[in-house]
Point group: none
Chain length 341, copies 4
């Protein structure tokens, strides 16, 4: 395994992480959750990601249970959760979501109880909350880190570049701890935000990235290439009632989807040339970005983890020439000029 | 015993300290550890030094055990440990070393558990960690002092002058507690860093020093003078598999070693003239430096401590004339001029 | 010409600068000064360096006169001077040197009068002043920049790493402008301070470098190679009564000098292999260091400037292999490890 | 001449200064003022002290006139004035005295006009103003230094220890410039405040001292020893209508006066033993105090200055034994213990 610094912090995370979204506490049972975590750890993965709202809090419960059973040394693993986006238990009340001081403190306390842990290593603001003043958000995350000791670092997820810059500026002004990491959606089909909008955040604020959905929910594995109109039976989008899955199912086969599939087919040609599976190429491509600290992957079977880890061996196969071919397919992101004369 | 202020802090430490490196929890058993600590205390030594990685954490265990058995008043002693340099138990994992917020907090928590103490008096950053931002380091040491109450003061060990200045500057900027002490290697054969590179830190930042290896692992006692090629049987460098001891054994008799022995022989002539043993002179010489708060000594027998304490009576014998003779042998450190006209 | 940012500032300086030390206002007359400045400008050099004490202030007078006659657009050039090291007019009085608030303000006012300029772009603290508190120094440079408008940026010259770190820390603490550049002695024979002692300052404080004496006063041109005992008649060290030149003359042919000449002879072999003059290699080598914003050169004839500028074309000839050969001759500087495990 | 740093600042002042109180612009004419200043300068004195209220502003006028006529290099001299204690022209209005922002700015502007200078080096708050908030005082002195450029440093005169500590604390809190010097009354007969009350200010705040009245208006010269009841005709206290002189005349021969004369007579015995005049001993005694940057002397004839400067040669004659004898006469000041156990 390769370990990378989480942005400009002193924390080191495995370049591949394991996330509990949709799977642990949801689509798979506790036995499989434990098997997956064990497999990940044996592969050198030290970074495990969840959130207060994944499957209504059950993701935290299932992962906490597995961690306890596995008897890991707490110092040796990096656990993250996220606060904001919908309350646990699926029940949305007036103040159990968002980034008010009240919910950040109450939310993280409840997360730790479900995880049965004294602290997480990283707590993310899961989506921005534009109704809460940024100063309140920054102060509340500092409170849970500095006074409560419930987290070591804080980050953001799916924030805009200017919101991250604002949070960092307020932290500096007040002598408080700034967010060190953003968790964005990032893969071959969605690179504009990470490479374009965020381009200056890495050096200016020392921002790290833990990215999610490297395969865009399986699309980049190529498994939907031959089912243009409806999800193949048994696939993730054919079943399940998660809000997100419903959204994907509803868009299946529509215009954006077709354009994606078109690109995925062209990527397949490149993957064949390189001699690695399409999904391995997609994962390795994310890892080539030096601003990415960790690519969070999901798994509903331990073998998937073993497969994913192979991507680390393929980084050298993505030569500048191959990277340029990929750019031709998915579109390169043009950087802003340093000066405009 | 003489007590000195720890730099510009309010803490007073005995001018001689007792350290657990290599010995306690390692080369000597628990009975001898206890006997040494008792002897030290009876001689007026109040400062006891260890580290998370000394003999894989066993130094802390052994010293904690002895302290408990001796039933000392906690208020009456000064205990220090160090975080960073390699994990306890000899096992180096991804995040159980370095100076990340995670390791400073987790490491000190584990140290206190091994020591079976509620807090140490001084926690050192054992070597710098150039992969962790200085702000994260300063904040984390403040967290364990201010919020956790796990330490009274913090210091550094084997840092460079610019790193200490940077840490002090950040502490001032953020209104946080700055390091008050550095623990360097300092003896007759190695004075350049302490007297040269560090020369401005004492008055500008109120830095104190707790120095280690006053005899350069026995070299300055003269006991290797007549064994030019290989360590005499039974000596420290002849046995043991500690990483550090191996390194010394490998260099035994080589160029730098021979140069050292040459100087040690000349020092012997001066010691004879003064009428004290060579090792007593070497210890007393360290204590003559007013920037040294405490000289940390090691001991594998209680009698050694009694011998060491004699050095305090010899300070007056090191007259300016004798100090100048010593300078002629080991080389004086030239100070930077105040102004250059 | 290549332009580089002055450290982490927004100012751009030509990678080669022209300095007035010893020459302008001293060894050469006003006509040659003007011809040199014109030649430099025509080569694309935009950075001109002087100091209050160069030839007792006459360097500033001569350069100011030339700049006025040449009728350059002030916005197009970067002028620097230095305050501290001995008073102008050769007359050293109680308060007309050092870095007291009084002398920084009075000294720069006098420099501007001699230069006949409203402001310089960079004002350097020419050597540290260890009798003046760093806070007074930082505040005074901010005063001449912020309130008086007499300079755009400030820097240091021949300071130690801890002093630069201290100044930056105090500037941050007080919300003031930190020094952006250091001007050190740097060449093939003297690289330890710039590459070793300063190694952390570049990324941590955004420090830039404008280096002086790339040829060590001509030594690296090889012109003293065949005169081992005394300077050849007509050479710089044979004539002149400047304090510095006298010092060099006194050391001519002594131990350190002989060691230098030995290295210079070996460098000649490498330069021949690369196919460029020795002095061009020496200049290009300085420019290879990415932390160097500008290499300040001297000239007593316009043709020398044309020669110097050729070094910029030779950067690619200094391949990693050639750089390694040079390291073998002059000794590479070992960097401090990021972590010590 | 000997030069000393003004407290912890970078400014250097001659150990003897020349003040204009009562004399320049008052008791002596412009010719003598000029002759005295010239004599002082020729003796190496670089520090000249006045105040807005000395002889109703005429002291500043006379000294400014002399400085202009003498054509000194402004950089080479240190000029101080004082604001607060009664307005110039003898006319006391509502807002032309005290330390309000209004009077500090208006008062210093008027002083500079009388002195015909662009700035003074030191501006003192002449006595505290307990009706003005300390923050207003600190801010106003910073305004005239930083924004107006009317002074290089600021100090206090006849403030209490706690008031100086308060001003320094407010300056630190607000990131402003703290006072660097206090001007107290200090001589053999009045040492309690400087050595007792102020004892911690020197190291904690870097406070310097410019002391006045080293001879207590002539008393310590012994010239009143033989006139127990009334001032001898022609002496300073026999004539003049200055408020202060009247006060001294009224107390002539009373109880405190008699006690003083008693001590002065005993001091004479010691001076005779040492072999120097009594007044020389009194001056030298002030200079022995390392916290004194400069002893301000007055003069109504140039020869007095030559006499005073001789005191600098007598410092070594005041051996520890002689200093102890002096203590026996005037009473030593006991220092507060470091700790009280």
């Amino acid at each position: 395994m390769v370990y990378r610094r989480l942005g400009n912090s002193g924390l080191h995370v495995s370049a591949l992480g394991l996330g509990g979204w949709l799977t642990f506490g949801g689509q798979v049972g506790n036995d499989i959750t434990l098997a997956c975590l064990k497999q990940a750890y044996d592969c050198g993965i030290n970074f495990f990601d969840t959130a207060e709202n994944y499957t209504g809090g059950q993701s935290e419960v299932a992962m906490g249970l597995a961690i306890k059973k596995l008897g890991w040394n707490r110092n040796d693993i990096v656990i993250s959760t996220k606060i904001n986006w919908g309350g646990a238990n699926g029940e949305v009340l007036v103040n159990n979501h968002g980034l008010s001081r009240k919910h950040i403190i109450e939310g993280l306390r409840a997360s730790l109880k479900r995880l049965d842990l004294a602290y997480v290593d990283i707590v993310y603001a899961h989506r921005p909350d534009r109704l809460t003043p940024m100063e309140e958000v920054v102060r509340a995350f500092n409170h849970v880190i500095e006074i409560k000791g419930w987290a070591m670092y804080w980050g953001t997820s799916e924030w805009s570049a200017d919101e991250i810059a604002e949070a960092c500026g307020i932290a500096k002004q007040l002598g408080l701890i700034a967010p060190v990491v953003e968790q964005p959606f990032y893969n071959l089909l969605h690179r504009k935000k990470v490479e374009g909008e965020f381009q200056r955040l890495y050096s200016r604020f020392g921002l790290g990235l833990t990215t999610y959905s490297p395969l865009k929910f399986g699309l980049l594995s190529g498994k939907y290439n031959d089912s243009p109109d409806a999800p193949p039976p048994g696939s993730r989008f054919a079943k399940g009632d998660d809000k997100f899955i419903s959204y994907m199912r509803d868009n299946y086969g529509k215009k954006g989807w077709q354009e994606d599939i078109e690109k995925v087919r062209k990527i397949k040609v490149i993957a064949d040339k390189v001699g690695i599976p399409q999904s391995e190429l997609a994962l390795a491509w994310c890892l080539k970005n030096p601003n990415v600290s960790s690519v969070i992957t999901g798994a509903s079977r331990p073998e998937q983890i073993v497969e994913n880890v192979k991507a680390l061996k393929s980084l050298d196969k993505l030569t500048p020439e191959i990277m340029a071919e990929i750019d031709d397919v998915v579109g390169a992101v043009e950087l802003d000029p340093a000066r405009q004369d």
